[in-house]
Symmetry: C2
Subunit: 262 residues, 2 copies
């Protein structure tokens, strides 16, 4: 027998947000959004118990399958980050964009389109409403800008929760200007500031910074309690099992999933 906790789903305001959401007239395929795949809402505790709010960017192939954000390569890196802070369960992760992006240069300029922004602010407001969130960490520029915009809005007026920026979890693109080491140096700074502020993690632990590269222990599996019931272990503990189809289709319509070799 397998005994695996699973995500029992959003409650209250979060449930309403998963029931009524922007459509493809807000997130247009022609604007670079992968709206064909539908929205992907959150990962973690969408039930009012979260004490850490994580903001990411947008879902990709893996997330189109799991229907939870940050569950692929970027998600496992973020999971390692929050676990270094002692958050093993009491986090809520949401994205700046509700739908995936297939063309960043087309899509990113729509970050504050009215329909995008209003709905995102409802998630932020719902996350903060119970008064338990003690820190917000944003990964990447769109996430950081989304939070700043919220703070400047009527809904965010008076919000004083600690906010820490960090680089996007896959900012270290091969051949790009940001190395793995740059990314981890940035994350170490973010971690140290957050660790000093956090008072109620799930597990109190000393902060162990990243070294020159990510270790296996810094890439934990996505907890089964964050995913739908019955998701097999290989989907939680390996990367790149989902990818574009061949052909990928217009607006990345197609998707291929391959069980990794043991």
């Amino acid at each position: 027998m397998i005994t695996d906790a699973f995500d029992t789903g959003p409650t209250r305001r979060f449930r309403t947000l998963c029931r009524r959401y922007p459509d493809d007239t807000v997130y247009r395929g022609a604007d670079g959004f992968r709206s064909l795949w539908g929205p992907v809402f959150y990962r973690g505790r969408a039930n009012g118990t979260a004490r850490l709010l994580v903001v990411g960017q947008d879902p990709a192939q893996t997330e189109a399958f799991t229907r939870r954000i940050l569950s692929g390569q970027a998600g496992r890196r973020v999971q390692g980050f929050v676990e270094k802070l002692g958050f093993t369960s009491s986090y809520l992760m949401v994205n700046a964009f509700l739908y995936g992006i297939y063309n960043q240069s087309m899509a990113l300029g729509h970050l504050n389109d009215p329909g995008v922004l209003e709905y995102r602010h409802r998630w932020f407001a719902a996350a903060l409403a119970p008064g338990r969130v003690e820190a917000v960490v944003t990964f990447g520029n769109p996430a950081s800008q989304a939070w700043q915009t919220f703070l400047g809005s009527p809904e965010g007026a008076g919000v004083s929760v600690f906010h820490q920026r960090a680089l996007h979890p896959t900012a270290d693109k091969p051949g790009g200007p940001i190395s793995r080491r740059d990314l981890l140096d940035n994350w170490n700074v973010a971690l140290s500031r957050l660790h000093a502020r956090v008072t109620a993690p799930d597990v109190v632990r000393p902060l162990v910074p990243y070294g020159g590269d990510l270790t296996p222990g810094e890439l934990p599996g996505i907890p089964s309690r964050d995913l739908p019931a019955g998701i097999p272990p290989w989907m939680r503990s390996t990367d790149f099992w989902a990818g574009p189809g061949d052909p990928p289709g217009a607006e990345r319509a197609n998707l291929t999933v391959e069980v990794p070799s043991p």
Copy 2:
């Protein structure tokens, strides 16, 4: 904005059954089971409110993606069947096998393996426990045998709920011995018997039997309330968007999903 109900998930005993379940030592890949993809538990009301229990056979590609049983071609046919009886919501669908099958001749003989049978009986018992189920319909021989075996077991002793058999929803294989007409004739007999017994459907409606072929109205979409939040409409209202990968991989490890052309 889109407003779509979604499945808020299993409760009570059903939740426990989705948390603890047989692994791949019970459903072995070497025995023809697609255990690599994980279990797929149910579709419909796993919360004690079901008044119709539907038993199918096993999940396939579409269901590996939606994580709900009977959501592909067979599922839409079954949806049309239960809606003819006036059941638009108050049904629970479970399968004889918790995991998909890639080789029927290898797998079907394991229908009553102890680990398969004991867990399935727990689902049947949970479905009946609230005392609301007024009929059971089984689609295909494994489903019918599973129900008969339950009735003969200690857990099923004293169960007197009306049971109706029906052919498997895709029994009309091209070139096979059962024609579309044969299938629908069989379903018409099953419907008439069930319709005469059912006292509390969601919608009271006269029984309209099938004609010589399935009409578009007899292939309704899978209700959004039966699926996870955010599943796009094309996944609910078209068939064959999920298929084996190319190559399919050992034990059908791989999966391809293509958004249908509009």
